[in-house]
């Protein structure tokens, strides 16, 4: 492989992103603005999945974390969740839910839940017990403690979990065209129409989308970290939250 040809490939891909051209197979225009509907679908299914996953995982994890139960569930969810191939989940449920948005979103919600659940749970458990006791001492009720003490202190970790899940969901949405949803993955999977430069362009767009989401959540996470409060250490390294398992959390500082 000549370095020059590599440069050509990538500049061709950039050209593909900004300008329309005839498809390799003829008869249709691809690239440029034709990528916008794919991008829009990609973002739409990601956002919907994340909303549903958060709405399910966070309250449940808050409740379990507050009660101090479910240590095992939190650990298992994190460990097993990582090894289940997203493609298997996607095609398995398509046999029951059919093809289209519903099945894709359902599968992505399933894949998004474990990191959010685990991080929320660990976030709550990690809150200094002294802070909770102090809150109880000044007469706060259970729900008040969750809302005013535990939740704010756990927020950085919760955002960390959402960050992991969002990136995973964006990655999984790339497989959409295999199950009836045209996302940016179309350009990657469907190279006989888009051509090699189109495939590369699709990959670049998916990568940029993921990195953008990552950076946005990193900023959110930083903004959510209480100033002057050292009881919860905002993950110094972004992955401290993403890769939280019980083994690493218990030995973390």
């Amino acid at each position: 492989m000549m370095p020059a040809s590599i440069t050509d490939d990538f500049s061709g891909a950039l050209d593909f992103i900004f300008h329309q051209r005839d498809a390799v197979s003829g008869g249709v225009r691809v690239g440029g603005a034709t990528l916008l509907p794919l991008l829009e679908t990609h973002i739409r299914v990601t956002v919907i999945s994340m909303f549903i996953a958060c709405a399910l995982a966070i309250p449940f994890a808050l409740w379990l974390g507050h009660r101090g139960k479910g240590q095992f569930a939190a650990a298992s969810a994190a460990n097993v969740g990582r090894a289940v191939p997203s493609i298997a989940v996607l095609v398995f449920f398509s046999a029951y839910l059919g093809l289209g948005d519903t099945n894709l979103i359902f599968a992505m919600v399933l894949l998004a839940i474990p990191p959010i659940f685990t991080n929320t749970y660990v976030g709550i458990r990690q809150v200094d017990r002294d802070a909770v006791d102090a809150a109880r001492g000044v007469g706060m009720s259970g729900p008040q403690i969750v809302r005013r003490v535990e939740l704010p202190l756990a927020l950085p970790l919760i955002f960390g979990g959402m960050r992991t899940s969002t990136v995973n969901v964006i990655a999984t949405a790339t497989l959409g065209p295999l199950v009836g949803v045209l996302t940016l993955g179309d350009a990657i999977i469907n190279a006989s129409v888009y051509g090699p430069e189109g495939r590369l362009a699709g990959a670049i767009l998916v990568a940029v989308l993921a990195v953008t989401a990552e950076v946005a959540f990193a900023l959110l996470q930083r903004a959510a970290t209480p100033r002057g409060l050292k009881v919860v250490r905002a993950p110094r390294f972004r992955a401290a939250s993403r890769t939280t398992t019980v083994p690493s959390v218990t030995s973390a500082p």
Binding site: V24, S25, G26, G27, V28, L99, P177, I189, A191
Partner: protein, 328 residues
């Protein structure tokens, strides 16, 4: 202490490798039995092992990533093995773009490709310019391929075209037997096919243009779902292959292409010139011999054995070679 840590890590690695090794030793080698059974000295259909071929470099047979390709890849690989060649398999390469790149780059020596696909995907022939005569289409492929130092071996008897199918019940209900019957009805129907189909002139684009149709919507799916979208009621019309066993099994109606816009797709084994030269005449002869029995009904049956009966492509290929008398 440091050494103990390292020892433990090495121990972990060893256990892993041992675990892996028992996995690999279990793998079946169906092809070697085929080779062993081919008795030399017989005539006719039986493939005879030529001991000279054993000393030649291994031939790597590739295939794209769907049933018919897997079966053909296995048939070619097993028959070459029966002819005495050392054969490696790289089945499941992916799409034609990947497969052709692997062929040109020498990662595989040969893989089965459809004449129509080769012309439109590799050689810049617009789908509506593909010859409707299978032999003519093949000759074109042969000429183009030669420029890439690739030999297109003679085509298979069976034709595997794209086709448009509906459930028999739906087709009957709407009174549709051929594609032109869709006129005036397609606006209420959902068309389904691979993601690429919607942008190809030998698929959805050509269908709409040739017959003046417009569909209610298009459902892009992986090729594997092309029949279940119909039987599950998620689409009304779906793009299938004419050699699909499910057409019969799922009681689907294949709509006649009465304006003849779909090009014929016969398979040719694209082989590197270098490989042909190194392998000698036995290779092309063996390939030609084993594919004479591959007529459309036979290919449908072989596809059914994999897609419906869930047998492995390797086993089905062996059955074909044995049942047809190419190997004992």
């Amino acid at each position: 202490m440091r050494f103990r840590s390292i020892l433990a890590l090495i121990g972990a690695a060893l256990v892993t490798v041992a675990f892996a090794a028992c996995g690999s030793s279990d793998k079946k080698d169906t092809t070697s039995t085929a080779a062993a059974n081919a008795a030399p000295g017989s005539t006719g259909k039986l493939i005879v092992a030529n001991p000279d071929n054993a000393s030649k470099g291994p031939i790597t047979i590739g295939s794209k990533n769907f049933t018919e390709e897997f079966i053909l890849g296995e048939i070619y690989a097993q028959s070459l093995q029966a002819a005495g060649y050392k054969v490696k398999k790289q089945l499941n390469l992916g799409s034609e773009q990947i497969a052709y790149k692997a062929l040109k780059g020498g990662q595989v020596d040969a893989y089965p490709e459809y004449t129509g696909t080769a012309l439109t995907s590799f050689y810049g022939v617009k789908p509506d310019a593909v010859p409707k005569d299978p032999q003519q289409a093949f000759e074109q492929v042969k000429t183009f391929a030669a420029k890439d130092q690739i030999t297109a071996l003679p085509p298979t008897p069976f034709t595997d075209s794209n086709g448009f199918a509906m459930t028999s019940a739906k087709a009957k209900e709407l009174g549709i037997t051929k594609l032109s019957d869709l006129k005036g009805k397609s606006e209420k129907l959902i068309l389904s096919g691979s993601p690429e189909c919607r942008q190809r002139t030998d698929c959805k684009l050509g269908l709409e243009k040739t017959y003046g149709l417009k569909f209610k919507s298009y459902l892009p799916v992986d090729l594997a779902k092309r029949h279940s979208v119909l039987t599950d009621g998620q689409a009304d019309v779906s793009v299938v292959f004419t050699t699909d066993g499910q057409i019969k099994a799922d009681n689907l109606a294949l709509l006649e292409d009465d304006l003849k816009f779909l090009p014929p797709y016969n398979v040719t084994l694209l082989t590197r010139d270098q490989t042909i030269a190194a392998a000698g005449p036995d290779m092309a002869q063996t390939i030609e011999k084993v594919q004479t029995g591959l007529t459309t009904p036979v290919m449908q049956e072989l596809n059914s054995r994999v897609d419906l009966d869930k047998q492995t492509p390797a086993a089905v290929a062996t059955q074909y070679l044995k049942e047809s008398g190419y190997v004992k």
